[in-house]
């Protein structure tokens, strides 16, 4: 089969690989029909995530057709069209039993501080991902769900991560009616977080980024007020000015480890790997939210320490909430929102790239060329 393969920082290629085998009785092998590149993949691509090995296949956003099932699989049969949450989880451990699917204890041998994610380095379990023609899907009875007939394929693939994550992030904000919400980052995750904040009853949604074309999308798609942080000497002061100098009630970090806006933070993290991530957006969130406010962290950071302004967070009495999204938990309600027309996931898709050209896809998405917001990956086997 054809599969994307990591060759080192900023380098990937498509190789011929063996089709994955059933390795556990509850495994399924899924033939991928549509995939996507996520902002999280960029952290791997840039060599920031420890134990990202040459030869691994990335990709945690994919849908496909069940090709084989292991002997203990009850809920799926070959031929089923499935959407697969980016989390790999057992359904039965302490954490899964409490709905913390992204924190499963039975699937990641390499680390206890993170659950397992498809194609997301050995730190996230060492599983190959779905930017390929076939993928091994562990716990086939737990995560994968048959795609409803009414659902568009592109919407389905976006629900496997970005939509569910943004929606989850708005919930982490504990938004109450009329709250002012600041969303840092106008990538797919931030756009869906902004959109979801309205569902929770926000009174005002403000989106911050430095890419004008993404801010344009935040205005049109997410009905948000927007500010380009590169146009202000100090975006925190600007955010205070527009919130009566009290600060916003809620801030959502949808940027993560590679935040721009502070060269020293960027270089020490993204380039020198001296910290787990550049917490520029997180620090802006801490400083711009009001005292007693809530911060929702969706942005991903590496397992190393990061220079976070913890003193401010403590002195301001903030509530910090965060997690990798437990994707499947969001689906039933999100399906209703989509059917009601409140949300059209594939509005953020800008590029559709054949698997054979995935190296170009990564470059376009990483360098933010050509108005790129969300690139999908088309597999030949589809």
């Amino acid at each position: 089969m054809r599969a994307m393969v990591y060759r080192g920082p900023y380098k990937i290629r498509v190789e011929e690989k063996d089709i994955p085998r059933i390795e556990h009785p509850n495994d399924a092998i899924v033939r991928v029909t549509l995939g996507a590149i996520c902002g999280s993949d960029l952290h791997l691509y840039h060599g920031m995530m420890p134990d990202t090995r040459v030869g691994t296949t990335f990709g945690h956003e994919f849908i496909g057709v069940v090709d084989q099932v292991g002997p203990s699989v009850r809920n799926l049969v070959p031929g089923d069209r499935v959407m697969v949450p980016f989390n790999i989880y057992c359904g039965s451990c302490y954490f899964c039993a409490r709905g913390l699917f992204s924190n499963c204890h039975n699937v990641n041998a390499n680390a206890t501080a993170v659950g397992a994610i498809y194609g997301y380095s050995h730190t996230s379990g060492g599983y190959d991902g779905g930017q390929s023609e076939y993928v091994r899907v562990p716990f086939a009875d737990i995560g994968p769900t048959i795609i409803p007939d009414w659902m568009d394929d592109e919407d389905a693939v976006l629900l496997t991560d970005a939509v569910a994550t943004g929606y989850f992030g708005a919930q982490l904000g504990d938004i109450v009616e009329g709250d002012t919400v600041v969303v840092l980052g106008a990538g797919p995750v931030g756009l869906f977080a902004a959109k979801s904040s309205w569902l929770m009853g926000a009174g005002r949604v403000i989106v911050i980024d430095h890419l004008e074309y993404r801010l344009e999308k935040a205005r049109s798609f997410a009905h948000a007020e927007t500010y380009n942080f590169a146009e202000y000497d100090d975006i925190v002061v600007q955010l205070k000015k527009i919130t009566d100098h009290l600060g916003a009630d809620v801030a959502i970090d949808a940027v993560g480890a590679e935040a721009d806006g502070n060269l020293l933070q960027h270089v020490t993290s993204a380039k020198l790997k001296l910290q787990g991530g550049s917490p520029v957006a997180l620090n802006w969130a801490i400083d711009s939210v009001r005292k007693g406010g809530t911060i929702s962290v969706l942005g991903a950071y590496g397992p190393m320490f990061s220079a976070v302004k913890f003193g401010d967070a403590m002195n301001k009495g903030l509530t910090l909430r965060m997690n990798q999204a437990p994707v499947k938990r969001q689906w039933p309600r999100l399906f209703e929102h989509i059917q009601n027309g409140y949300l059209k996931p594939n509005d953020v898709v800008t590029h559709r790239i054949p698997l054979e050209h995935i190296a170009e896809g990564y470059h376009i998405f990483s360098a933010k060329l050509d108005g790129c917001i969300k690139p999908l990956i088309l597999t030949a086997a589809a």
Binding site: R7, Y10, I12, C90, A109, G178, R204, H210, L369, G371
Partner: protein, 191 residues
């Protein structure tokens, strides 16, 4: 506005927002929010028909975090450790918990070694690494390289010149190693 006890007045009322934004307030009631509360104990909900999963066979020694009691019942089998990077990785797992910076720094170091090892190894295969195609820069001419960057206040342009250093670095290192190796061999043969 003076600092008083009032919540700042809103520009738009809930009614106006409901009229303007599709779905506004659909999840206003926290009971409609699927992730509230954070923990909800319901072991039957997830479709697991086991109390503890079957164990995936360990066909080769599988490195694991020493914070785990045992090898997890299911684990990934992509890219087993190999070469010098593999030795470093195994040591990082065996010796240091996730709580130790040494664990992660060794793993990051192993990643860099892995990249150099793999580039070198690729030169003796039918498909050597190709920095032009693998970095995807061939997409530049057809995807508005100038318009996407010039005339805008993009903060990331500040570190744009650094990116190639990361890309070319391992190549220079690999090239240097090859050169040093060749020189050593030549010297040995001459002697």
């Amino acid at each position: 506005m003076p600092y008083t006890a009032d919540k700042p007045s809103r520009a738009e009322s809930s009614e106006q927002l409901r009229a303007r934004i599709p779905g506004w307030g659909a999840d206003l009631d926290p009971r409609m929010r699927p992730s509230v509360p954070k923990e909800r104990f319901d072991p039957g909900l997830n479709g697991a028909h086991w109390e503890f999963p079957d164990r995936q066979p360990e066909t080769r020694p599988r490195e694991r975090s020493i914070e785990h009691a045992f090898l997890t019942p299911v684990f990934g089998t992509s890219a087993p450790p190999k070469g010098l990077s593999g030795v470093i990785r195994r040591y990082a797992y065996r010796r240091f918990s996730e709580g130790r910076a040494a664990h992660w720094l060794l793993l990051l170091g192993a990643d860099r070694v892995d990249a150099v090892e793999s580039h070198l190894a690729s030169f003796v295969t039918l498909r050597p690494d190709n920095p032009i195609t693998e970095t995807g820069v061939v997409a530049e001419p057809s995807h508005h390289p100038v318009a996407s960057r010039v005339g805008q206040k993009r903060a990331d342009l500040a570190h744009l010149p650094l990116d190639p250093v990361l890309v070319v670095g391992p190549w220079l290192l690999a090239g240097g190693l090859v050169l040093a190796g060749v020189r050593a061999v030549v010297r040995a043969v001459r002697r």
